[in-house]
């Protein structure tokens, strides 16, 4: 291993800002040019990136907060700024400082002690580091580049990043994309060269280990012609976050005949506003697959978007959302069919309980040039009690006569007969409900690598615990 690892950088030296005696970098309230310039300087941005950040800041001030989704008025802009300073990154926060709810989650999930410690940022990242590097060495031999975005900006892919970074999600897209453009830090860059198949999924474990840096992370993945990749967003464990806004950005480029599968399970802490933007563009004959599980956060706006830009490009979306008490999760997906014979298949499931609100929001657009395109959507919602809410808001904008579009939606409850049936075989009521809910989510967990499927089931178990009187 040569030099410092990425993990070390995140934990110790990346944010070598001024710290006050409490170890916190101080910024003035509000977001201003000086702060952006300081971040840019500390991160050693190339000039174009510095300009980009400043332009994004202007957009941020110009754009207004979205008014069509869940209420985010509880979001304090000052906190966002507070967050920009890397409160805990590089510091040595105590495991005992982690909120008890999250600590408990980790303990019940059986996340090893070492991993928990690294999560809290007190060293012991050795294990995760090793995993990361093993994977990296193996794929590096195939010419795959997998690194953090900051180092990539100064490496041989610098030009590739300049021509792709926030081209799919421009900072003019919405207020939080602009915010992201101004303050982004951390994240991964992956480039898979032509014809290369990466057999093992790449996983971004490092985000787990650096809670303070993950809020505005940027993921940029380019899968070149005929190549294939499975990328798993580093959510092998719930993330501990010091602040309450996540505005990450994911940009995925799937070139001609390439294949990308992007899996993620999110389990943010329940005070989080998750305003994440994910977008993919798929060229001729390419295939984009999304597997997405959303469990945590207070409010989520999450609609992975796919642009099917080349003939016969395909998109497959499998997602599940679980909204419990105090959660309003607005998730779904968007697909734009812009070339002939493109296809999209959507399987969305949602579960709501204890007053949780789960909304499936989708937009399927078929442009005039996309003759012969096909889209099928299947949405299923499960409400666990009458306090909870589940909505389905599908939008279809079809601009060609020659398209085959289907949408099916079903909202249901757990039948008391089914609970009686399972209980009559010895399962407790809680166990019976949990099995039914896990069973409902099964078609999604089947799509996940085993360890993640296990984790998802654990999450469901956790959410279902104590729901019976």
């Amino acid at each position: 291993m040569n030099g410092k690892t990425y993990l070390d950088e995140i934990s110790h030296s990346r944010y070598d800002f001024r710290y006050d005696e409490d170890g916190y970098f101080k910024v003035d309230q509000g977001l201003n040019e000086d702060i952006i310039l300081e971040i840019s300087r500390e991160k050693n941005d190339p000039e174009w990136m510095r300009e980009f950040r400043l332009r994004s800041l202007e957009q941020y001030h110009r754009l207004s907060v979205p008014d069509w989704g869940p209420d985010i008025s509880g979001l304090n802009i000052d906190n966002i700024v507070t967050y920009v300073r890397p409160k805990n990154a590089g510091m040595t926060p105590k495991w005992s400082d982690v909120p008890s709810e999250i600590r408990e989650t980790f303990e019940r999930l059986g996340i090893p002690q070492a991993e928990r410690e690294s999560l809290a940022g007190v060293g012991a990242q050795y294990d995760s580091e090793l995993v990361y590097h093993n994977v990296r060495e193996e794929v590096a031999a195939q010419g795959v580049i997998y690194t953090d975005l900051e180092s990539a900006l100064h490496g041989p892919c610098a030009e590739m990043i300049r021509t792709h970074f926030m081209h799919l999600v421009p900072s003019t897209d919405h207020k939080f994309a602009a915010l992201h453009g101004a303050v982004w830090s951390g994240g991964s860059f992956v480039y898979v060269p032509r014809g290369v198949s990466v057999e093992i999924p790449l996983q971004s474990y490092f985000r787990l280990n650096a809670p303070g840096a993950g809020q505005f992370e940027h993921t940029l993945i380019i899968v070149d012609e005929g190549a294939s990749l499975h990328f798993i967003e580093g959510c092998s464990a719930p993330k501990y976050n010091v602040a309450n806004l996540h505005a990450g950005c994911v940009e995925l480029y799937v070139e001609k005949n390439a294949h990308l599968r992007y899996s993620t399970i999110e389990n943010w802490s329940k005070n989080m506003y998750n305003l994440n933007t994910k977008r993919a563009i798929v060229r001729e004959g390419g295939v984009m697959e999304w597997v997405s599980g959303s469990f945590g956060s207070h409010v989520s706006y999450l609609y992975p978007t796919t642009i099917l830009a080349g003939a016969k490009a395909q998109m497959n979306y499998t997602g599940i959302t679980f909204a419990g008490a105090g959660q309003n999760l607005d998730t779904g997906m968007k697909v734009i069919h812009s070339a002939p014979d493109t296809a999209s298949v959507i399987h969305a499931k949602s579960i709501s309980k204890s007053g949780g609100i789960s909304t499936y929001r989708s937009a399927v657009t078929v442009n005039p040039g996309a003759a012969g395109s096909k889209s099928t959507a299947n949405c299923e919602s499960l409400m666990l009690d009458s306090d909870s809410r589940s909505d389905t808001i599908p939008v279809m904008d079809i601009r060609t006569a020659d398209a085959d579009i289907g949408h099916e939606a079903r909202i249901g409850r757990i039948s008391s007969e089914a609970i009686f049936y399972l209980m009559s075989r010895g399962l407790s009521e809680e166990e019976a409900r949990t099995r039914i809910v896990s069973g409902f989510a099964d078609s999604v967990s089947k799509e996940l690598p085993l360890e993640y499927a296990v984790e998802m089931n654990n999450l469901i178990r956790l959410e279902m615990k104590g729901t019976i009187g």
Binding site: S416, E417, S424, R425, E429, I436
Partner: protein
């Protein structure tokens, strides 16, 4: 000999509609009891209330099983006490394989742990007896099963869990001749264990042909109207339920 199940003066409502009235029923251990009666008599309700279906509310009376007061036990506690109900319409539960369900049920009712492969081996013999392919174990519980397959899966559960009391609710309904034979065979196997007791709920008699019936109870309009030995079955076959109806 004291009864395994003793139902005393039991009245039951569903959705505030009275269904069962002042039921007295005693099931003797190791015996085959048959509950007969016309459609709508309340036979299934009686099976369900013994199992503890929360849809059935007991308005008066008592039920004791093996000495313990059933009314104080939840459904799963009754299962653990040794009561089994084969459902008339077994529910389809997506995402739970028959195997993992059986394994959970086995472990929970016995408070034990079984080895995966050992348990599978144990099941495969029973599957063979029931003319069910082993692949059914990996299918989602009852999902896409035919009527006959569902009933066979119920018998598989009964034979695997080996409860003290098995209540079979219309297990023969909707089955073809071959399936009835297979299911009857499974039921006969269950009764090979001297510690097992059966309550067979039926409105036909096909399933009873290969069984030694000890006692027959006739339920009509929510009342137990007649009880007797196996000869009652022939009587019902000859005359139907007509003479038990419209008492008022």
């Amino acid at each position: 000999m004291s009864a395994l199940l003793s139902v005393c003066n039991l009245s039951v409502q569903i959705n505030e509609q009275p269904i069962l009235h002042h039921i007295h029923l005693e099931l003797a251990p190791g015996k085959v009891h048959v509950l007969m009666g016309p459609n709508g008599a309340g036979k299934s309700t009686l099976g369900n209330v013994i199992m503890g279906n929360p849809a059935c509310s007991v308005t008066e009376g008592s039920m004791f099983f093996n000495g313990s007061d059933l009314l104080g036990l939840s459904v799963d506690q009754r299962a653990k006490a040794g009561i089994f109900l084969s459902f008339q319409n077994p529910l389809e539960v997506p995402g739970i394989s028959l195997f993992s369900f059986l394994k959970s049920a086995y472990e929970l009712t016995r408070d034990t742990h079984v080895r995966l492969w050992q348990f599978r081996k144990q099941l495969s013999a029973t599957l063979g007896d029931l003319a069910l392919d082993e692949s059914y174990l990996d299918r989602d519980l009852n999902v896409g099963f035919s009527g006959g397959e569902k009933k066979k899966a119920e018998i598989l559960q009964m034979l695997t869990l080996s409860p003290k009391l098995a209540i079979l609710d219309e297990t023969d309904s909707g089955l073809d001749v071959d399936a009835v034979r297979t299911v009857s065979h499974g039921i006969a196997r269950y009764m090979e264990d001297a510690g097992h007791t059966l309550l067979i709920i039926t409105h036909s008699t096909r399933i009873l042909e290969s069984l030694h019936v000890d006692r027959v109870h006739i339920l009509a309009e929510g009342h137990i109207v007649h009880e007797g030995d196996a000869s009652l079955i022939d009587d019902v076959n000859a005359h139907g339920f007509e003479r038990y109806l419209s008492r008022e």
